[in-house]
C-alpha cells in the first residue's frame, strides 16, 4: 500500500517535473497549427516528389544530429530514388561489419541493406555533442506525438514567435511555444532558402518544413499508400458481399412469419 502511494507520488512528481518545470511562469497551452497534408483522408496518398525533397532536407539539415534507425537505404527506392543512387548514398559511409582475422574491427562501405548512417555512434556521444540533450531518433516521430505531422510542422516553424517578456529561458535553451514547456534544446535549423531543390520547388522555410514533415510521415508510416489502396478494394468487396447477404437474409426470412 505504501509503495503504491509512493509510486503514484513518484509518477505525479515526475510528470510535474517533465511538463511543468521548464514552463514555470508559463502555463499556457502549446501551439498547434492544422495543415492539409496530401496523405490525409480516404484517398490521400504521398506525393513522391515531396518525399524526395523531404529526404534531401533530412539529409542536409536534420541528419547532422538526428538518427533514422528504422529506415534502410534500400527503402528509399520506394520514394523513387534509383538503385544506383541508393547504392552510392549507402557507400558514402563506412560501417563496421565483424572482425578481421587478427580480431580488429573490420570496416566496409555501406550497402543498401544498412540503416541510414547515424550522426553519433551512441547516446553518450550524442549528448556530449549537444550540451547534454539527446536528439531523438526521427523514424517514428510523426506517430509518437499527438497530431504528429501538425505538431512537428508547428514546432519547426515557431522559433521566431515573440517570447513573452516575463518568460524565464534557461541557459542553452530556445523559446518555442509549440514545445511542451515552451523551451527546447534544439535551435532553429530551417530558414528561407536553407535548401536548394533540384526540381526548383519553392524553398521558403514553410515549404522546406512541409517537405521534411512529409518525409517524416513516410518514415513513420511507409505502408500508408498500400494500406489505403487495399482498404478501398476491401471495402468495395465487403459492401457488395454484405448487400448480397442482406438480400439473401430477406429472401430466407420471408419463408416464415416473424
Amino acid at each position: 500500500m505504501r509503495s503504491m502511494r509512493k509510486l503514484f507520488t513518484a509518477i505525479a512528481a515526475a510528470a510535474t517535473l517533465a511538463v511543468a518545470t521548464p514552463a514555470l511562469a508559463n502555463s499556457g497551452a502549446t501551439k498547434l497549427e492544422h495543415k492539409e497534408w496530401s496523405w490525409q483522408g480516404m484517398f490521400g496518398q504521398y506525393d513522391k516528389a515531396q518525399l524526395r525533397r523531404g529526404f534531401q532536407v533530412y539529409k542536409e539539415i536534420c541528419a547532422t544530429c538526428h538518427s533514422m534507425n528504422l529506415v534502410r537505404y534500400r527503402n528509399l527506392m520506394d520514394i523513387g530514388l534509383s538503385e544506383d543512387d541508393v547504392k552510392a548514398l549507402a557507400a558514402a559511409n563506412e560501417v563496421q561489419d565483424g572482425f578481421d582475422d587478427t580480431g580488429a574491427p573490420k570496416m566496409r562501405a555501406g550497402l543498401p541493406a544498412d540503416k541510414l548512417h547515424a550522426p553519433f555512434p551512441n547516446e553518450k556521444a550524442a549528448r556530449a555533442a549537444n550540451g547534454g540533450a539527446l536528439p531523438p531518433d526521427l523514424s517514428l516521430m510523426n506517430k509518437a506525438r499527438k497530431s504528429g505531422p501538425d505538431y512537428v510542422y508547428t514546432l519547426l516553424t515557431s522559433y521566431e514567435d515573440p517570447m513573452p517578456e516575463d518568460f524565464h529561458l534557461m541557459d542553452g535553451m530556445n523559446y518555442n511555444p509549440a514545445f511542451p514547456g515552451h523551451q527546447i534544446a534544439m535551435p532553429q535549423m530551417i530558414f528561407d532558402e536553407g535548401v536548394t531543390f533540384a526540381d526548383g520547388a519553392p524553398n521558403k522555410k514553410e515549404n522546406i518544413t512541409a517537405d521534411v514533415v512529409a518525409f517524416l510521415n513516410w518514415t513513420a508510416e511507409p505502408e500508408l499508400d498500400t494500406r489505403k489502396g487495399m482498404g478501398l478494394k476491401v471495402m468495395i468487396f465487403l459492401a457488395v458481399m454484405t448487400a448480397l447477404f442482406y438480400a439473401l437474409k430477406r429472401q430466407i426470412w420471408s419463408r416464415i412469419d416473424h
Binding site: 500500500m1 509503495s3 503504491m4 502511494r5 509510486l7 503514484f8 513518484a10 509518477i11 515526475a14 510528470a15 517533465a18 511538463v19 480516404m42 528504422l70 527503402n75 523514424s139 517514428l140 506517430k143 509518437a144 506525438r145 499527438k146 504528429g148 511542451p180 513513420a220 511507409p222 505502408e223 494500406r227 489505403k228 487495399m230 482498404g231 476491401v234 471495402m235 465487403l238 459492401a239 458481399m241 454484405t242 447477404f245 442482406y246 439473401l248 437474409k249 430466407i252 426470412w253 416464415i256 412469419d257 416473424h258
Partner: protein, 407 residues
C-alpha cells in the same frame, strides 16, 4: 441417432464418432427463438473476433522477440519488412478494441433483456469469466510492444497488487520476476499472452454448451413453449449472422485501413524508458471505467478492492435482481435505470481518462457510488416494487399478431 447424411463415409465416421450428428444438432437444427433482434448478433461476432485474434496473433508471434532490447524493433520489423506485417499488427491491435466493443454490447444486451436470470446463471458466469480473461490477456498484450505506455502501464497495473496487506509485495515481485518491470516480466507476459486466448476459447466452448442446454433468451424474455416459437438455427440465423459479420467487418476494417492508431497512444511509439515517465499514464480505453472506480477511493487498498468488486458483484446479479420478469421491455421503471447504468458506465470511462482531481474526481466518486447503488440497492428494490407490464402468452403470438396487422 441416425447420421445426418446418406453419404457412406459420413455414416461410417458418424457411427464411430457422432461428430456430424453433433454438428447437425447444435449448428443446424438447434431450435432458436424466432424473434431475436440484431442485438443477438454480437455473441457470434465476438466468437469470430476471437478466431481473428488467435490467427493474427499466431503469425505475429512468429516474428516477435520477447526481449527488452529487441521487442520494440521486432514490432517495427513486422511493420516494415514482414510481408503484410503491418496488416497483421493493425488487425490485431484494433481487433483487441473491437473484441471489447462487441463483448460490452453483448454484456449490456444480457443486462437489458435479463439473460442472466434463471436458468442462465451459469451461462452468465462463464461469460464473466471470459470477460475477466480478456481483461488479463489485453493487458498482457499491450505490454509486448515495449513502448513507453507498455512499460508504464505494466508498472502501474502490476503495482495495484501491492495494495494487498502482507502478501501484496510478494505478489508483485512474483509477477515481475524481479524487483522492477524488466526482461523477466516481458519474458513471462509473452507466453501468458499467447496461451490465455486458448483458455478463453475453452471457456467459450463451455459457454456455448451451456447456451445450447438452456437455449437462447429473446427480446420478450419468455420461454419457448411450442414449436411455432422456434426456428432452426440454419439457415435463419446463419444468414443473419453472416449479414452482421459483413457490417461488422466494414466497421472494423475502416479503422485498420484509415485510422489504425485511433485506439492507441502516441507514447507507445517511443521505446520503453524506465528513466522517463510519460506525463499522463492512461490504460487502454476498455479498462477506463474500472480505472475511474479505482481512483475514486482515496485509500489504495479500498480502491483496488472496489475495482475488483465492481466486476465480481456481477456474478451475484442473478440473485440481486428480484424481478420475475426478464426483459426490460416489460419493466417500465427498471428499463430506464438499466439505461442510466449504461450512461453511468460511459461517464466513468470518460473520467478514467482524465487526471483524477477537482470536479473530475468528484464526478467519478458519484458515478462509483451510483454503480454499486444500482446493483446492490436499486436492482433488488425495484424488482420488489415495480409492476411489470403483462407478458405475451407466447413468442409466436405477438409475432403473428404483428405480421397480421402489417397485412
Amino acid at each position: 441417432m441416425s447420421a445426418p447424411s446418406n453419404n457412406k463415409v459420413v455414416k461410417w465416421v458418424d457411427d464411430r464418432l457422432p461428430i456430424f450428428t453433433m454438428m447437425k444438432h447444435s449448428a443446424i437444427d438447434y431450435p432458436t427463438p424466432k424473434n431475436l433482434n440484431y442485438w443477438w448478433n454480437f455473441g457470434s461476432l465476438a466468437g469470430l473476433m476471437l478466431v481473428i485474434m488467435i490467427l493474427t496473433g499466431l503469425f505475429l508471434a512468429m516474428n516477435y522477440v520477447p526481449h527488452t532490447s529487441m521487442a520494440f524493433d521486432s514490432v517495427e520489423r513486422i511493420m516494415r519488412d514482414v510481408n503484410y506485417g503491418w496488416l497483421l499488427r493493425y488487425l490485431h491491435a484494433n481487433g483487441a478494441s473491437m473484441f471489447f466493443i462487441l463483448v460490452y454490447i453483448h454484456i449490456f444486451r444480457g443486462l437489458y433483456y435479463g439473460s442472466y436470470k434463471a436458468p442462465r446463471e451459469v451461462l452468465w458466469w462463464l461469460g464473466l469469466v471470459i470477460y475477466l480473461l480478456m481483461m488479463a490477456t489485453g493487458f498482457l498484450g499491450y505490454v509486448l510492444p515495449w513502448g513507453q505506455m507498455s512499460f508504464w502501464g505494466a508498472t502501474v497495473i502490476t503495482n495495484l497488487f501491492s495494495a494487498f496487506p502482507l502478501v501484496g509485495e510478494h505478489i508483485v515481485t512474483w509477477l515481475w520476476g524481479g524487483f522492477s518491470v524488466d526482461n523477466p516480466t516481458l519474458n513471462r507476459f509473452f507466453p501468458l499472452h499467447f496461451v490465455l486466448p486458448f483458455v478463453i476459447l475453452g471457456v467459450v466452448v463451455v459457454h456455448v454448451w451451456a447456451l445450447h442446454s438452456v437455449k437462447s433468451n429473446n427480446p420478450l424474455g419468455i420461454d419457448m413453449k411450442t414449436p411455432q416459437d422456434s426456428i432452426p438455427f440454419h439457415p435463419y440465423y446463419t444468414i443473419k449472422d453472416l449479414f452482421g459479420i459483413g457490417l461488422f467487418l466494414m466497421f472494423y476494417l475502416a479503422f485498420v485501413f484509415w485510422a489504425p492508431n485511433f485506439f492507441g497512444e502516441p507514447d507507445n511509439y517511443i521505446p520503453a524508458n524506465p528513466m522517463v515517465t510519460p506525463p499522463h499514464i492512461v490504460p487502454e480505453w476498455y479498462y477506463l471505467p474500472f480505472y475511474a472506480i479505482l481512483r475514486s477511493v482515496p485509500d489504495k487498498l479500498g480502491g483496488v478492492l472496489l475495482m475488483f468488486g465492481a466486476i465480481l458483484i456481477l456474478f451475484v446479479l442473478p440473485w440481486l435482481d428480484t424481478s420475475k420478469v426478464r426483459s426490460c421491455k416489460f419493466r417500465p421503471i427498471y428499463k430506464w435505470f438499466t439505461i442510466l447504468f449504461l450512461v453511468n458506465a460511459f461517464v466513468l470511462g470518460y473520467i478514467g481518462a482524465q487526471p483524477a482531481e477537482g470536479t473530475m474526481l468528484l464526478v467519478g466518486q458519484i458515478c462509483t457510488v451510483w454503480y454499486f447503488l444500482h446493483l446492490l440497492v436499486l436492482t433488488p428494490v425495484i424488482g420488489w416494487l415495480e409492476k411489470p407490464k403483462p407478458l405475451p402468452e407466447s413468442i409466436s403470438s405477438p409475432v403473428v399478431k404483428k405480421s397480421g396487422e402489417a397485412v
